[in-house]
């Protein structure tokens, strides 16, 4: 996989940006790269990059996050250190952008620096099973709204089509026609497909460029939603 110095993940809210950003950061670190990930989500105070702080720290990935993430302060704050990502060119930077156009406004302040350096990938994360992006046309609409908000055009698509714990290889295969069409009408290449690691294993051979995802453990999953051979928690 080739990497740009800066990788930005944006898209519709709930499309999977945070999980992908965290896993991509871990994948880069596993290749021995120096990596810094910034949580630029100014929209949603729940389910943040900071939830994966432990895993990131263990892998040597630096996390830049609002001091208010996961707290009771509902403040759309950006960490000042986030400028490091655009200025420290010796480090691979990953930016996790908040959902929709409203989340993408936060990115705008970094856009001039990103464009000037010109070594970036701006990825549109999409899940065709999300209700407000059920058609390629609706996804394109979201894409254009985000671009208008942050003044940075997308350069590629990440296909994160999934149905949560019910996802199978077929779930992803069924999304390919939709993604092909989105690629066609947007003029953007599909950079990656993403899938939970067991699903990614099942897909081996049938798809190129699959990033396997380790998902955050959710305390509220029911016993029936957990893999049979795993402990209930811990």
């Amino acid at each position: 996989m080739d990497h740009k110095r800066l990788t930005l993940f944006a898209g519709h809210y709930g499309s999977g940006k945070t999980n992908i950003a965290v896993n991509y950061a871990l994948a880069l670190a596993a290749e021995g790269k120096k990596v810094c990930i910034a949580d630029l989500d100014i929209v949603n105070p729940y389910f943040r990059t900071a939830d994966s702080a432990k895993e990131l720290r263990q892998a040597g990935v630096e996390l830049v996050s609002s001091q208010y993430a996961n707290s009771n302060v509902d403040l759309p704050a950006l960490p000042a250190e986030a400028y490091r990502l655009v200025q420290d060119k010796a480090t691979f930077g990953i930016m996790d952008i908040g959902g929709d156009d409203r989340g993408a406004y936060a990115l705008g302040r970094y856009t001039p620096f990103i464009k000037e350096e010109g070594n970036y990938r701006m990825a549109f994360v999409d899940n065709c099973y999300r209700p407000l992006t059920r058609t390629p046309k609706e996804a394109l609409e979201v894409m254009r709204e985000i671009e208008a908000a942050c003044a940075l055009p997308f350069t590629c698509i990440v296909n994160n089509s999934n149905l949560g714990t019910e996802t199978t290889a077929q779930t992803l295969l069924d999304s390919l026609e939709y993604i092909r069409r989105l690629s066609e009408i947007s003029g953007l290449p599909v950079w990656l497909h993403t899938a939970r690691s067991d699903v990614a294993r099942d897909l081996a051979g049938s798809l190129e460029q699959v990033l396997p995802l380790q998902l955050q453990e959710r305390y509220f999953d029911l016993p029936s939603q957990k893999p049979a051979n795993r402990p209930l928690w811990g």
Partner: protein, 353 residues
């Protein structure tokens, strides 16, 4: 074909409301229910509906009152502090016997509190909140699928009994994502001869009002209303029983707490402890018969809640204090861990409640 989609709990409420025929949404923003309003803002204009962000919670609940009086399927949504502001309107809606759906995606309180999940509005939802003698049907979803199905059910019940249905969710169920389908949507429609729809000079005009100048008339009105509430208590309690067949201990939990508790129940069963769970789906009417029946079978109860202990009072009341009731709870935006619930089950097994 019913298709599977991946939705946030808040989105599921909004989509289900639209499918239930709701074309009027009035609200005011607050975390963690924002996606309901965002979804409505995006969808309503495309289907000829109304999305209106009012100047305040108080304004929005009174817009609900107005649209309900006009016979519309109408809703609002908010989170804990916002529901307190709506309390006056809720009382007026009850006093006027018009149907409405109100969603509370709870956060920690009291006061401005926090934005993390909570169940500390149990008292407010089930015992009043606003002034006067009145009840609301209170539905407590424990999954994204139930956020959808109970929203549709809530509209149906509201129309059937001419009262407010409240969806009492919490920040986590509002924000979490699960795959769901909408195939089971059973939309009931009811005639609304009392609605303010214009007379065309062909009938006497209707009046929707909660003011009664004569105390004896107001008393009769309240008594009539409580006859209707009795029917709700007879016909509408909903609950789930989980591993209760041979249970010697019973965990009682609703919403997100029940999901944590189920993991603890399974873990305790693995240790040989015969424990089950009763999950109230309607908090009012409370599933009292199920609890009373369990009280004759089990050694005791554990109420698992995200508050300082509110539902526990109803568990004690409706089991007529026949057996001890322990509490396992966290509050302020914290959630009991499955370990904590398991530990309280182990203690209960030893007779410590």
């Amino acid at each position: 074909m019913a298709e599977r989609v991946l939705m946030k709990g808040n989105e599921a409420i909004a989509e289900a409301a639209i499918r239930a025929g709701c074309r009027h949404y009035f609200g005011y923003p607050i975390t963690p229910q924002t996606e309901i309003a965002a979804y409505m803002a995006k969808k309503m204009p495309k289907i000829g509906g109304v999305f209106l962000q009012a100047e305040s919670e108080i304004a929005s609940i009174n817009m609900v009152y107005g649209a309900a009086a006009a016979g519309m399927r109408v809703m609002t949504s908010s989170s804990s502090p916002g529901i307190s502001l709506k309390a006056e309107g809720l009382s007026y809606i009850a006093g006027s016997d018009v149907p409405a759906l109100v969603v509370n995606v709870q956060r920690g309180g009291p006061g401005l509190g926090g934005i993390q999940p909570s169940q500390s509005d149990y008292f407010q939802a089930t015992k009043g909140g606003g002034h006067g003698d009145y009840r609301m049907i209170v539905l407590a979803p424990a999954s994204v699928q139930e956020m959808a199905s109970l929203t549709i059910k809530g509209f149906n019940l509201a129309d059937k009994y001419l009262m407010t249905s409240m969806i009492l969710a919490d920040g986590t169920i509002g924000q979490m994502m699960e795959p769901i389908t909408f195939e089971d949507a059973e939309i009931e429609t009811y005639e609304k001869p009392w609605a303010l729809t214009g007379t065309n000079c062909e009938r006497p005009h209707n009046i929707v009002n909660s003011l009664y100048l004569k105390p004896d008339e107001l008393e009769v009105k309240n008594m009539e209303r409580y006859e209707r509430y009795k029917l709700v208590e007879q016909n509408e309690p909903m609950w789930e029983e989980y591993m209760m067949e041979d249970a010697e201990l019973c965990v009682v939990a609703f919403g997100i707490a029940s999901r944590v508790a189920k993991n603890a129940v399974v873990a305790a069963r693995n240790e040989g402890i015969k424990v089950g769970l009763i999950r109230p789906i309607t908090l009012w009417p409370f599933p009292k018969d199920a609890l009373l029946a369990a009280a004759d079978k089990v050694k005791g109860f554990i109420s698992v809640e995200l508050n300082m202990g509110q539902m526990i009072e109803d568990v004690r009341l409706y089991t007529q204090c026949k057996k001890p009731v322990g509490l396992c709870s966290r509050c302020g935006g914290m959630i009991p861990s499955p370990e904590e619930v398991l530990e309280s089950i182990r203690k209960a097994q030893k007779g410590e409640f």
